[in-house]
Symmetry: C2
Subunit: 282 residues, 2 copies
């Protein structure tokens, strides 16, 4: 018997679509409903069989759902969380997939304090620089980390429900406060995106034939959606600025080492970098 009767996914892009595919492949839900505003995306999601059915009717799509996942761009996440809390049944729990957490959780708490009894923020560390349900993959969450960000007032039983949901998709859960998540992700995700973009943007196009795997790897994320990423930078502005300042300090030191031909210092930085990069693997 499926774990959930009905799961509603609000926003069926890459993440929402992958979520639907994963739920259906694993037989976790009797019904997966995709909710969205754009018929084109909903049609694509249905074509890919990422959802059992799709609707633009928010209230109808949500009716009787046990699980609601908001998978929209982060700018509209808090609004959809609050609307879901108002429309969903008492038994439902709500989570999201946003790359930022502090602003979303704060906005939800401000708009509708009661929502914190039904909503826990989540961020699956999985994705792709390509967007849209056409790139969705049923294994997107397998073996990946999902950060959950309960607040002090979140009921423990609700946290357990949300974490069990992600674990049933093959993910490992890491729990931390929203602001701590945002601070870490500023360095591990948002800053890399900013660097990759600055590097790609300043590379003269006529030199692209001279770009090998190093440039390709280092700039890969710069192919991500500019609008989605602008929203992420906007929501995590302070932490990203802080991470950027630290990186600029490191680049200044590298600049000094190059200027002074201090190869010992430069090599020390490269060694430290290699040690940390090797610790990640692959």
């Amino acid at each position: 018997m499926p774990k959930y009767r009905k799961v509603a996914i609000v926003g069926v892009g890459l993440i929402g679509g992958s979520l639907g595919l994963a739920l259906r492949k694993r037989g976790l839900a009797t019904e997966v409903v995709g909710i969205g505003r754009r018929l084109e995306s909903l049609d694509k999601a249905v074509d890919r069989e990422a959802v059992d059915r799709a609707t633009v009717d928010f209230a109808e799509g949500l009716a009787e759902a046990e699980v609601v996942v908001i998978a929209t761009p982060v700018e509209s996440t808090a609004e959809f969380v609050c609307r879901s809390v108002e429309l969903a049944t008492d038994a439902a729990f709500i989570t999201d997939v946003g790359s930022t957490k502090a602003v979303i959780c704060q906005e939800v708490a401000t708009r509708l304090p009661a929502a914190l009894q039904k909503f826990v923020g989540s961020h699956p560390l999985a994705g792709d620089h390509r967007t849209g349900p056409e790139h969705a993959r049923s294994d997107l969450f397998e073996g990946k980390t999902v950060v959950t960000t309960p607040t002090e007032s979140t009921p423990p039983a609700l946290v357990a429900q949300v974490e069990s949901f992600w674990e049933s998709l093959g993910a490992q859960v890491v729990r931390m406060p929203p602001s701590e998540h945002d601070e870490a992700l500023a360095t591990t995700s948002h800053l890399p995106h900013l660097l990759a973009s600055a590097l790609a943007a300043t590379t003269p196009e006529e030199w692209l034939p001279l770009a090998a795997t190093g440039w390709a790897d280092t700039t890969r994320v710069a192919a991500g959606d500019p609008e989605l990423w602008t929203q992420i930078f906007s929501q995590n502005r302070a932490a990203v600025l802080n991470a950027l300042d630290q990186l600029s300090d490191a680049l200044s030191k590298v600049h000094t080492a190059l200027t002074d031909e201090n190869w010992t210092d430069l090599q020390k930085t490269l060694q430290q970098a290699k040690r940390i990069r090797d610790a990640l693997g692959n």
Copy 2:
């Protein structure tokens, strides 16, 4: 009948080993000899069948070779080029695989002006952050770009010989002056390495579990050999400093956009970056 009777590869690491594997797989040489200083690397190259035989005797290894490829770290490339010119037969041509070209070509010209009648610099835009013959691959050069850097005094017939050598390994050749190569590669290869290293070096290790594919891609090259890369930065110091200055300017603009909450400007940078990154593909 093989294209070459004897090919000598000086330095049998990742690139030298891959060269041997490719020559042998394609049946391009009657004999591939690996020359090196460290018996351990030579043994590994023989074990991998990257070379037919290996020797630490430079003169013996070079004797009667038609093609000599210097695949050592860039710091010793010019020295080995000059020694090869003195020892090789009149019919032999000599090239290298170094990631920098201006210093090598200049040093060769200064030490032994006659060498420019037998040596043309090359840089295959192929590699891996892993080193050593154990990671060598016979297809490393297939479909890749190799930059050749003849000088004004290089005989056209010699350039043709060297370019034909790389083409027979499945590579496409792009020809440019040494200094132009170094200027372009400062942006397309050396700067990405510097950024990746600065990012990895400033990421707190306890946050690595929160690093997803974005961080992994953006920092991948930072796993490269610190000593080899210090040599590259040393040889291409001025161009790398210039590329770093341009990148710093771009990061300053991004910083200002974030500080001023000028999301239009930030999104424009992200769009420009996406356009250039998409132009590369994959």
